[in-house]
Each structure stands twice: as structure tokens, then as C-alpha cells.
Subunit: 237 residues, 2 copies
């Protein structure tokens, strides 16, 4: 009776509130918003049950009335971020629409740099994720391929965007907890790399760096990557 059996539980099936007892002081959305606020301002590692509870102004253990495990808090955060996805009436040009989707996802991840790290297929079915998925499928209506293929397209595009942004943000998020700056870290790694490459052990890498030693246009790299992904799904190629 009291000791509930260990049964799998998806947070979204758990009703937000039940009839009996005092009214909950917060909604799930309140909690997600607080966690997102903390993560945005202080980084994902600052998101602890205590910190989020403090942000809300309640006791730590009160959170466990809303969220059975910390992992579910993460799931709420991802869903809350997904709510910021702006949806539109599909234009009829699936390529243009998917490019727009990709750019919007990237912007979203720039606003919430912790998102790439939390991106997991496990969280892929939260309410807002479903809404987003349905929207992508709507944008792909003009594309004459099976739904299975469309799913593969969406997964691949999202994957590439996530990987790309994660790479963009990696040192930034990393150096947050380090006693030196991002620039210093970058410089140290670059110096090490130059030294290694100068050793002659890696002739092709040396050639690659010689080819273009200037700064890379990351924006252009991103754009090329998107187009290449979409090209792979163009029919009758």
C-alpha cells in the first residue's frame, strides 16, 4: 500500500494535481521556468534541487511533490525550451521551411546553451516536442517520400544542428567552471595543436592548416552542412 511498487513512470502521464489536499503552490510550468532561469544564468551544473527550490522560494524537498526525480526536472526544462519554438503555416517549399526550422533551433540553443547537453531521444516525446515534430511533418507534406523517410530527415537535421551548436558552445560552457577564461583555454589548445602539427607526424593535418590558417566562417560551415543534409533527401537525385 504505502510502499509503492517500482513502476516505470512518464512524467507527462502523472496528473499535475489531484483533488484532495491543499492546493499546490506552484505549477509544473513554474518549476520548469525556475530551473531554466537558473540554467540560463548560472549554467546547467548550477541546477540543483536546492538551487531551484531556492529560486522558487520553497523548501528543497517540496520539489519532490512535483517531480519524482531530478532527471524529470531536466525533462521539464527541455519541454519548456521547446515551447519557445515558433510554429508557422507551412509555405509549400519544404526545403525553405526546414532551413527555417534549423535556424530557429540553433537560435533556441544559443538562448539556452544547456539544451544540447540535455538533448536526448528519451525526451523526444514531451508535449512540445510532439507539437514540434508534427509541425516538421506538416512542413514536409510537399515532399513525396514515406513518413519513415521524413522521420529520418527530421532526426538527421536535428542531430546535425545539435552537434553543431554543441561544438560552438563547448569551450564556453566548459570554461565556466574553470579558473581561466575561454580565450586562454583556446590559446593553450591552439598552441599545443601547433606544436603537435609542427612535429611532422601529421602531414595532411599540417597541409589542412596551411591551406587556410585564418579564422573559419562558422556561419557558412553551418549553412553548408544544412544544405548537404537536405540534398540527401531530395527526391529523384
Amino acid at each position: 500500500m504505502a510502499g509503492r511498487a517500482a513502476e516505470p513512470e512518464v512524467i507527462w502521464t502523472r496528473p499535475e494535481r489531484t483533488g484532495r489536499g491543499p492546493k499546490p503552490a506552484y505549477t509544473r510550468a513554474d518549476i520548469a521556468a525556475a530551473a531554466v532561469r537558473v540554467a540560463d544564468a548560472e549554467g546547467l551544473d548550477a541546477v540543483s534541487m536546492r538551487r531551484v527550490a531556492a529560486e522558487l522560494g520553497c523548501g528543497t524537498m517540496s520539489l519532490y511533490n512535483y517531480v519524482p526525480r531530478k532527471e524529470d526536472l531536466y525533462e521539464l526544462m527541455v519541454d519548456a525550451a521547446g515551447a519557445e519554438h515558433e510554429l508557422w503555416e507551412p509555405s509549400g517549399d519544404w526545403r525553405a521551411d526546414m532551413l527555417r526550422v534549423a535556424h530557429q533551433t540553433r537560435d533556441l540553443m544559443h538562448r539556452h546553451p544547456w539544451l544540447p547537453r540535455l538533448m536526448s531521444p528519451v525526451y523526444g516525446f514531451s508535449p512540445h516536442a510532439l507539437r514540434f515534430l508534427e509541425h516538421c511533418l506538416a512542413c514536409l507534406d510537399p515532399l513525396p517520400v514515406s513518413y519513415g523517410t521524413k522521420m529520418e530527415l527530421i532526426a538527421m537535421l536535428n542531430g546535425v544542428v545539435t552537434t553543431y551548436v554543441a561544438n560552438e558552445l563547448a569551450t564556453a560552457e566548459r570554461t565556466r567552471s574553470l579558473p581561466w577564461s575561454e580565450e586562454q583555454e583556446h590559446a593553450a589548445r591552439a598552441a599545443y595543436l601547433r606544436e603537435r602539427i609542427g612535429s611532422g607526424e601529421y602531414p595532411r593535418m599540417a597541409a589542412a592548416f596551411a591551406e587556410n590558417s585564418g579564422p573559419i566562417d562558422l556561419e557558412a560551415v553551418f549553412e553548408r552542412a544544412l544544405h548537404r543534409v537536405l540534398d540527401g533527401f531530395e527526391p529523384r537525385a
Copy 2:
């Protein structure tokens, strides 16, 4: 003097041992191997400084003589795993070689399921990562594009493989710490998904699931993804 200034430090530039004092009891490789052993057997979350020290049979704080921060231990682990990459004489067929690379990476990640989670561009320049990169570039010698483009190809292929395997392993690694099994978790999520889709809010997702309700051939999905990536870099398309 004693209080060293906070300067950026790449673990690979730090000499493995210095002249003065007693001989270190372990090599960096010993430590990496111990950490990998723990991660393979008990999951990445079991890799704590105490646990790794116990695995080695030394005091916890002794580890800090070899590794300044836990994060550097992760870097050692990734490099140690990278050492398992088997390199070969390029065949002259860059497509075949890159497919082989991709499959090998996937196998590697299956052997070390914690690898996708640690994959970070920051770790991309460890000794074995450089060796691997040079090998990929060698395989791409027959491809008549710039080194910049080759780098983009390698990054994209690795990214797609990593994302794909991470998805494959997500629930498995996740349920390790949960009081129920992977199958139960999967069933609960599937039930929730069916319920949501049955609501009629997501007509296209419903159609997608109706189209093919049987189990998906993940192997084929992976293969298609690889070919699509490589297609995007085929010259004169």
C-alpha cells in the same frame, strides 16, 4: 611559488613524469585503463575519483598527482578508447574507407557505451584523436576537394555516428540507475505515445506510425544515414 597561478593547461603538454622525487607508481595509461574498466562495467556515473583510485589500489588523492581535474580523467578515457581505432592502408576508394571508419566507430561505442556522452570537440585533439584524424584524411586523399571540405566531411560523419549510437544507447544507459528495466521504461513511453497519438492532435504522426507499426530495422537506418552523408560530398553531383 607554491600557489601556482591559474594558467590554462592541456593535459597532453604536461610531462608524464619529472626527474625529482619517488617514481610514480602508475602511468597515465594505467589510470585511463582503470577508469575505462570501471565505466565499461558499472557505467560512466560510477567513475568517481574514489572508485578509480580503489580500482588502481591507491589513495583517492594520489590520483591528483596524475590528473589535475576530473575532467582531464575523462579526456584520458576518450583518448584511451581512441587508441582502439584500427588504422589501415587506404584502399583508394574513399567511400568504402569512410564507411569502414564509421562502422568501426560505432563498434567502438558499443564496446564503450559511455563514449558518446563524453564525445566533445574539446577532446578532439588528444594524441590518438590526431592519429585518427590523419588516417581519415589519408583515406580521403582520392577525393578532389579542399582540406577544409574534408574536415567538414569527417566532422559530419563522426557527428552523425555519435548521435546515432547515442540514440541507440540512450534508454539502456538511462535505466541503469532506475529501479525498473529498460523494457518496462520502453513500454511505458510507448503506451504514453500511443495515447497521445490516439488523441487526434497529431494526425501526421498518427499516419507515420500507421505506415509502419512493426519494429524498425535500425541497421538499415544507420546505413542509409551514412550513405546520405557521403552523397553530400560526392564531387560534380
